[in-house]
């Protein structure tokens, strides 16, 4: 009975997650005829890998001899992929280095003005990007940061740092107060943090890394204004070009599939650290 219910729950979870993705990504395997068909087909009748080759600039010949031309946007897609990877990795690493100690301190130590400081950090993310876009652009032009990766990294950090700090605080509060023992053993604050707290809290830190990576990977609004059309173009903005400049739904779907792949790999490798804490021997 128990296994039946948990299998059912798992099934519902997978359906909820995959259905919207499936419904759109199936377009990448459809022929133009099938895309235009009404009612829309439930599954690809003659799946072709054409779109996936096209977005990298390769031609593909269908069985009936028609050639699906490689997309002229291929350069943009590849460059966007590279830029997005650089931005996301740099942002993830910087965010973790800054945020993990900060969240730990806010979660564990009692001091005056703690809540004021916390809300000051939150204020930075409360700003709606729509209203700060023009000022940001003006500021970036003056500083020479418009159209650069470092400019985009800076903006993204103002989003990831506050959010991830808030998220990790709740997590660190739950860790057992084992660091007091370490302090008694003569560890400094810094050593305690590095050798005791960080290994103990690796589940939360791994999740924080995934979250920071994804915030950076998916950032669209600022990227659209600050780097779109320059050599620092990122993948989301490059993809959005397919909808308006060159309406080719299968290319849009294929490049969206491509954009899901790297973060999914990062998530796959980091999720292994989400594990039961072994409190008998917390430092393994």
């Amino acid at each position: 009975m128990t296994t039946l219910w948990s299998r059912l729950a798992l099934l519902v979870v997978l359906l909820w997650t995959l259905l919207p993705i499936y419904w759109f990504l199936k377009i990448s395997l459809l022929t133009p005829d099938e895309i235009a068909r009404f009612p829309p087909p439930l599954y690809p009748l003659e799946p072709t890998p054409a779109a996936f080759l096209n977005i990298f600039g390769f031609d593909y010949t269908l069985a009936d001899g028609t050639v699906r031309r490689g997309s002229g946007q291929a350069v943009q897609i590849l460059r966007g992929l590279g830029n997005s990877l650089i931005v996301s990795f740099v942002v993830t690493i910087v965010t973790l280095v800054v945020v993990v100690p900060l969240a730990y301190v806010f979660a564990r130590l009692e001091f005056r003005h703690k809540n004021t400081l916390l809300f000051a950090i939150l204020l930075a993310v409360a700003l709606p990007p729509v209203s700060t876009l023009i000022p940001f652009y003006a500021m970036y032009i003056q500083l020479g940061l418009a159209g650069t990766l470092s400019g985009l990294i800076l903006v993204t950090l103002t989003i990831t740092i506050p959010f991830v700090t808030w998220m990790l605080i709740g997590y660190f509060r739950n860790l057992p107060p084992i660091e007091r023992l370490a302090r008694i053993d003569g560890y400094s604050r810094f050593e305690t943090f590095l050798y005791i707290v960080a290994p103990l809290g690796r589940s939360g830190i791994a999740v924080a890394a995934v979250i920071a990576f994804l915030f950076a990977w998916n950032e669209y609004t600022y990227a659209l204004v600050l780097v779109n059309g320059t050599s620092a173009n990122t993948l989301p903005t490059a993809i959005s070009g397919f909808l308006f400049q060159h309406p080719e739904p299968s290319h849009l779907a294929a490049s969206l599939a491509l954009s899901i792949l790297p973060p999914a790999l990062v998530a796959f490798f980091l999720q292994r650290h989400i594990a039961e804490m072994n409190l008998v021997d917390p430092v393994r």
């Binding site: 948990s6 798992l10 979870v13 997650t17 995959l18 919207p20 993705i21 419904w23 759109f24 009404f38 009612p39 829309p40 439930l42 301190v105 130590l109 001091f111 005056r112 003005h113 809540n115 400081l117 950090i121 930075a124 409360a126 700003l127 709606p128 990007p129 729509v130 700060t132 940001f136 500021m139 800076l154 903006v155 103002t158 740092i161 700090t165 808030w166 998220m167 709740g170 509060r173 739950n174 057992p176 604050r189 810094f190 589940s203 939360g204 995934v210 979250i211 994804l214 669209y220 609004t221 989301p236 993809i239 969206l256 954009s259 998530a267 796959f268 989400i274 594990a275 804490m277 409190l279």
Partner: protein, 297 residues
Amino acid sequence: MQRRLAELSNLQFSLLLALPVLVFLLLVVAYPLGYALWMSLHQIVFFGGYRASFVGLDNFLEVLASDDFWWSAWVTLRFTVQSVVLAMAIGLCLALTLNRPMRLAGLVRTIVILPWCVSLYGTGVMFSYLAKGQTGLGTAIAYAFGADEAVNLVNRDWVIEVLAVGNAWNMAPLVAFFLLANMKTIPSRLYDLAAIDRMSRFETFRHVTLPPLRFTLFVFTCITTVLSMKLFDFIFVLSGGGPGTTSATLTYQIYKESFKDLDLGYGAAMSFFLLAMILASTLILYFTWGRREAHRA
């Protein structure tokens, strides 16, 4: 050196860590904020030559007198409440499912986080394709069962719900993964004790699983609220504020005033009302809920 560090007071130690971050955030955020404030106090005209004339609080008063603003505030509120409730409930369900031992757990976790890997732009495209009558899943299924009428969910009555479901679909994994990490801090012997006490599954959830999650639940309610209220790209792609103005949230209205009607001062003034709304809701959440959780444990 080590000795000195060890003797820092809690406040000094935390300021040492927090101040550089605050200064960085202040430097990057202060200028746009100041600039937006300046715009909100001016009437900015582009046609017939660029002019900016100081008008004091006129823009703010004009916003308060506008029906569009109040409608958009209501849409934002409705969209946010639905998004947050859905995202938190679904996130909790996802986390509880993932927390059970299972085969291929790594693969299942990776699949569950996939929606969060789709950018908001992509989510917008996906849900617009999924819910619209011409291309939607509803239509395909209805026809498969012999109906001959398209099922269109992007209509006046349901568009906000479609937006909220799409937004919750995107945000739920974020909630789920932190809840999951938190569940892993619960010592497994507590579950053994609960089993000895013959607690039902619901009692175990209430007395063992839930207590260490409460603060995280509060934090994520705040985060999803902030994210939903300032959400723009997803709404822009999915519904473009329509049909008509049915789904024109404040962010969409600000975009329309600032970039389509080019009334930058008016748009900036409206964005301060949105900012106030976001801050007010997080403060209300803190004083009615968060403060209690912060003192617990």
